[in-house]
Symmetry: D2
Subunit: 275 residues, 4 copies
């Protein structure tokens, strides 16, 4: 129990923040006038600036956007989305539904990103002690496959046999030349895992949590920042589901996650812009 | 109390979502493959697509980003941020702190955007019934100033005599030719209010909630979507404060909002990009 | 927007609480030493003392306990409980699951207590202006049945044609001589409603929200306190479901509210104590 | 990542709860008709029944009540209470404020109960392997004092040099003959710690978290249930503070935890009842 100043005695200590300065008529975000940033910086870049303290390079900014977009929604399947919808059906506020959805990210849901980062950190430490990457990856996989009947964090998905988001994010990181040791070790793990297909009974490709863990590592983001990005990126999805619930459905309905369908637009090509 | 199917009887009704389609190895966001959007669309544009259903025009996309950036953080002053920090100091998870912060947006905090939108809708209805905008604005302001000792929603700020974010957002909307009736009526209200300075005792310029209300109106966003955007835009700020609290401060400290300082970088120019 | 002292300037105003005094080695709850209350007062009585400021009479204390027990759980059917379970299945903390469940009390779920209280207040005001109770009740019911296709707040239940909790609570209030004008007016409303069975298509008996609204009114509790009691009483239920979810079920499961069963003990008599 | 049935395919598995059975007009809590329990069982006893599955003995029921009362509020000092008040000042709902307060129980706040239980379990395992209790306690304390500059979990308090709640709870457990091995080992730890006063620089008496951990252990409650009891017991306090905030204070005020006072009743004797 850390010592603490007693309340009511005027004893609170001076403290400081280095995020945002507020003076009358002037707001500085990490030293930049917020009104100067408006119109000159995308939301993804501003999130990076706020969390890390510096304006990202164009490559890193584009990768941030890709990462945030990749996790923006996953339909009505995740428990976090169902928590948000169950709150929304009672007529509660959108912010209440979003808060409940945010709470629905536990160790088993989104937690893979943090756990995979720990695994990659361990692997890269082995490498830096002189062990070749292939051997380090094989050793880690052997240990994980023996001790657990669940896939290593960052691999496998309950819906997808190939996670299209993971594939695209790693490809973008490669194109933008932001794929370094973390991404390489992630691929080494995937390769080592593929030798165990017989044992695991199914292919265990890299999933989006794993790809985000590796790309954040290569971008130099601390692991707790990578974890926060998952929450930030999914909040629009939680809000969208809460809004749809209240717009389309009767209040107090029984929300069954096994009888839902999709009635939005069929597949259509992305309007031509950046390739 | 709406009728509801009893649980346990297999009676849940089929229901549909039009946001995101999930099939093995394929995720469609509003009809677009999510992996195709990654790297081609900024996070702000993707938020618009998810909430509204269509890809924004470049002007609207840039305005979305500006709006989201404008509200990303306001230092340690808002109660929502203090709620997030008080949760973070107990060693709770970042998602718990973010959820508590999201709950700290009540009618008096961020609620101005929704209330101002209602006011603008009322004003524009008067105009469409033939009353000139100047008269409609004067009538509304007369009523509001007489009945309340608080400023009309969207005007005045506890820190700023001119809200730099509001000024910049309305200027950008003008440059990008997205300022229509809502923005014009907001300015008409500001003009009518300025006649009452003697009465109100202080200038009541447009604040960021008011500017967001008007710009969202001119972009055609439903008012509940505009409300959700405030939450979406502030979540990175809440996460940043929770992370800073746990990184820089001792656990279980007394967080006094009157003895804080800013120790981040001094004002610096935004690196040259879009002007 | 209410004026507010700016942060960072040392300008926070002195403020006071009359709930609990904290000095070294001494905790006073509403003036009573907390350690003196321990072992001498039930939890229900202590909740009354904390919220109202005085020790309840034995009758009121017993009614408080009955009210809190009546709402302690309602199985896996309410959306609030499903929100808590969807959070728990991700491996999140019990407090995160409880918080999500608390958020799942919106206007359509538990909100009847507050709405019914407003209705009863309106009715009793009519009575105090000289209108006989029977007429006042008929007038209100006529208006409500004409204007809405939903039952008046406090009447009807999606599962029960007779709500056993409501019946017992009102009977207890009668036995303990705490049933006054509010309970009488609630019964008058029920009687007036029964004339409309043909119109409403089903019997609309008093539900637990209505009974709690009336009994709280007769106990002299402000309506917002009555509202808070619903949350307080259901928190043990939310915690119990979150604990059961994590103890009995696999993580990240699809929680369908239509295929659940009950496998607890069959009906058994309450061990003899107070009758 | 645990395997999961895909949504939309009708594939959710049957599942069961043993807490509460809901049939039309009949609610069974752990096999007892809820309406039969109303008026015959206190809220504290019903909480035990719901969480554990059986009606408590009178002694255990009285201890439950004492435990729940002991933790009902601790004034405006805890960060959880400040989180609830910061949400309430924005005009948000009481349930939103309560949820934020619940989230403000992290490892450093209330977490001692769980950590102390783990310590007691470890100690009792040493004893059951034949080591005398005094030696086992001394060994654990030696290790903890050497390795950490914070007190062992369950000992010391930032305000109190003697925690009056802990003293009373352990005394009650003794009177009611519910103090067994856990309480004895807790006292053994306190004794061993007292030898280290010179080292720790201050007395480290048993705190309420430690007393609750031991008493729950002796009552046979699983540690996660003991953890849930802390949340359940504090919710009334969180609600009371949120209600007081909205009743007594201006909205959007700066809530400084260093300039508060208590203006409730002065110390008064508990009205005579059970001793």
């Amino acid at each position: 129990m850390a010592p603490r100043n007693p309340g009511g005695s005027g004893g609170a200590k001076q403290w400081a923040t280095n995020l945002t300065s507020i003076k009358p008529n002037e707001i500085l975000l990490r030293g930049y006038r917020l009104d100067d940033l408006m119109g000159r910086m995308g939301f993804g870049e501003a999130i990076y600036l706020l969390l890390i303290g510096e304006v990202p390079t164009p490559s890193v900014g584009r990768l941030m956007d890709a990462m945030l977009v990749s996790f923006i929604d996953h339909g009505v399947t995740p428990p976090s989305t169902l928590a948000a919808r169950n709150v929304a059906t009672t007529g509660a506020s959108i912010r209440g539904a979003v808060a409940a959805g945010v709470l629905g990210f536990g160790p088993h849901h989104g937690g893979d990103a943090l756990a995979c980062r720990t695994l990659l950190d361990e692997g890269l430490q082995l490498c830096s002690s002189g062990i070749p990457m292939t051997d380090a990856a094989r050793n880690l996989v052997d240990r994980l496959v023996k001790c657990n009947d669940i896939p290593p964090p960052g691999f496998g998905h309950r819906f997808h046999t190939i996670d299209p988001r993971a594939k695209r994010l790693l490809q973008l990181a490669h194109e933008l030349e932001v794929d370094h040791a973390y991404s390489q070790f992630l691929r080494a793990l995937e390769h080592a895992l593929s030798k165990h297909d017989a044992l695991t009974g199914r292919p265990l490709p890299i999933n989006i949590d794993g790809a985000i863990a590796a790309v954040c590592g290569d971008m130099g983001l601390p692991s707790e920042v990578a974890d926060a990005l998952l929450i930030i990126s999914r909040v629009p999805g939680l809000a969208a589901h809460a809004l749809e619930e209240q717009r389309r459905e009767a209040p107090m309905r029984v929300i069954s996650p096994t009888v839902d369908t999709y009635d939005g637009p069929a597949e259509r090509p992305v309007p031509g812009r950046r390739k």
